[in-house]
């Protein structure tokens, strides 16, 4: 489980996160939703250590990340996999090399073992036979799947996905959603997905944290969200005509 306790973060006069607390459960797909600029990405970056919170604690299964030294943080980082919005694949490497990269850096595997592991990961994201391609040769959806394959190559305990469906067509988005659900269950990971795509939220979420103006305005399940009386949450959920039609039915 990942737990955030009273996290605050400001950039100069701008208070992005105000005393945010949240729990992300093991074996579940935990969504952080909110409007652009609401503080979702800052919250995620504070959680994974890409930004230092001004106040508060980030606990990975009870281990306080905010007070750890660099060496201990590295150990936690080896337990984290992350899928970035743009894939963040290394464009100088092939697909297979991208997946093997964390293994080369931190594991004692032989080249042969790494090849097998990369091949398994590619199979898991339905991209067998694409290992020798360069990332520039792949479509957006394929790049996201390679990103997932790289994220799971080290068998992480925690998976973070930043806008996994941005720029994807609805069908490919569902493929990615299902993949995130499946690998979360399969590996028993604590998965945190940052998104503002309501289709994904409905398809894939186990728990939802709605962040509004740097504060958690709602926390609950999918069903609870749909019947919530929170005005700001409802404005966000039912912003699109499709969701309004669904509500009116």
């Amino acid at each position: 489980m990942i737990e955030l306790k009273n996290i605050s973060k400001s950039f100069g006069e701008h208070h992005i996160l105000k005393n945010v607390s949240a729990k992300f459960h093991k074996g579940k797909v935990n969504f952080i939703i909110g409007r652009s600029g609401s503080g979702k990405s800052v919250m995620t970056k504070c959680t994974v250590g890409l930004l230092e919170p001004d106040e508060g604690q980030v606990l990975f299964d009870g281990r306080d990340f905010t007070v750890m030294n660099q060496r201990k943080r590295k150990e936690i980082h080896k337990e984290i996999g992350m899928l970035f919005q743009g894939g963040a694949l290394f464009d100088s490497m092939t697909v297979s090399e991208n997946i093997k990269f964390p293994l080369k850096m931190f594991s004692d595997m032989t080249d042969q073992e790494m090849d097998v592991r990369a091949s398994d990961c590619l199979k898991r994201v339905m991209l067998e036979g694409h290992g020798d391609k360069f990332t520039g040769e792949l479509s957006g959806g394929m790049q996201k799947r390679v990103g997932i394959a790289r994220a799971i190559s080290m068998n992480p305990k925690y998976l973070f996905c930043d806008e996994p469906n941005s720029g994807l067509d609805p069908q490919t988005a569902i493929v990615i959603d299902n993949l995130i659900i499946d690998i979360t269950r399969e590996y028993g990971m604590t998965t945190v997905v940052v998104s503002h795509d309501m289709n994904s939220v409905i398809e894939a979420s186990d728990t939802i944290h709605f962040i509004h103006q740097g504060e958690i305005a709602f926390e609950g399940t999918n069903d609870e969200m749909m019947v919530s009386k929170s005005e700001t949450l409802n404005e966000f959920i039912y912003a699109s005509k499709l969701m309004q039609k669904l509500r009116d039915r």
């Binding site: 994974v48 250590g49 890409l50 943080r73 590295k74 150990e75 936690i76 980082h77 080896k78 984290i80 996999g81 992350m82 970035f84 919005q85 743009g86 963040a88 694949l89 290394f90 464009d91 990269f101 964390p102 080369k104 850096m105 931190f106 080290m154 973070f160």
Partner: protein
């Protein structure tokens, strides 16, 4: 932003760069790649510029030499100019444009496409992983490139003197040898080594701290070259004062 802010951030960056690499084998492979990028790929431009510069230096000096000025002055001036200033200072300035912009744009693109964040999430010291091989490759390659530049400049000076007849080979050769101080070469190599650290680290610093998109990558690339050249010129003055006077 204030210069103090940049000095502080650059110092922190350099302290991260010089931490022990996570994986020695991966570091060695990166170093070999950087030796190719920084060293082998710069041989052509350095050779071309040195050949022309040595030849021009010879003709310009010959144009000034007349009357009581001895003919060997041509060879002497070409030698001193190439060894003391052109090869160790102007070649790094030119390489700041070629290598510095390359480093800054590479790291800047990696930053804006979140590749650096991906390295950090994996538990890799991204500053060291991306920059240390470049700095070491620079330290190893720049002196060799500068020595090559010196030889080619002197050779082209001799060649043009022979072809145009502005100096006899005997006079030119005497000029190359007269009052030669091996320390001048050592001074040149010390300068070059320091300039290589300036170019690689300052360019990496600007690329690494890029924020935004393609426009900011281009700005970082420009800043990398401008700051590298300015720092080279300033440190050239300081080093010359310290080492030659």
């Amino acid at each position: 932003m204030s210069i103090i802010f940049h000095i502080g951030r650059y110092t922190r960056f350099i302290l991260r760069v010089f931490r022990k690499p996570e994986n020695g084998a991966v570091f060695r492979r990166s170093l070999v790649n950087e030796l190719t990028t920084i060293g082998t790929n710069s041989v052509g431009i350095v050779a071309l510029l040195s050949l022309f510069m040595g030849a021009v230096m010879c003709l310009q000096t010959a144009h000034q030499v007349s009357g009581w000025i001895p003919a060997y002055t041509i060879g002497f001036t070409v030698r001193q100019t190439m060894i003391l200033e052109f090869s160790p200072t102007l070649i790094p300035v030119i390489l700041a444009g070629k290598i510095g912009s390359n480093i800054a744009s590479q790291l800047g693109t990696m930053r804006v496409s979140e590749q650096i964040d991906a390295l950090e999430i994996m538990g890799i010291n991204s500053a060291g992983f991306l920059t240390l091989p470049k700095i070491i490759a620079g330290i190893l390659c720049f002196p060799l490139l500068v020595i090559m530049s010196m030889f080619l400049g002197l050779a082209s000076g001799a060649g043009i003197a022979y072809v145009t007849g502005v100096s006899s080979m005997a006079d030119f050769q005497y000029g190359l040898q007269v009052d030669f101080l091996a320390y001048d070469v050592i001074y040149a190599l010390i300068k070059t080594t320091i300039f290589s650290i300036v170019i690689t680290s300052v360019s990496a610093y600007h690329g690494y701290h890029t924020h935004g998109g393609a426009l900011e990558v281009a700005k970082s690339s420009t800043k990398a070259v401008v700051y590298s050249v300015v720092i080279i010129m300033m440190s050239n003055l300081i080093l010359t004062k310290l080492l030659l006077t």
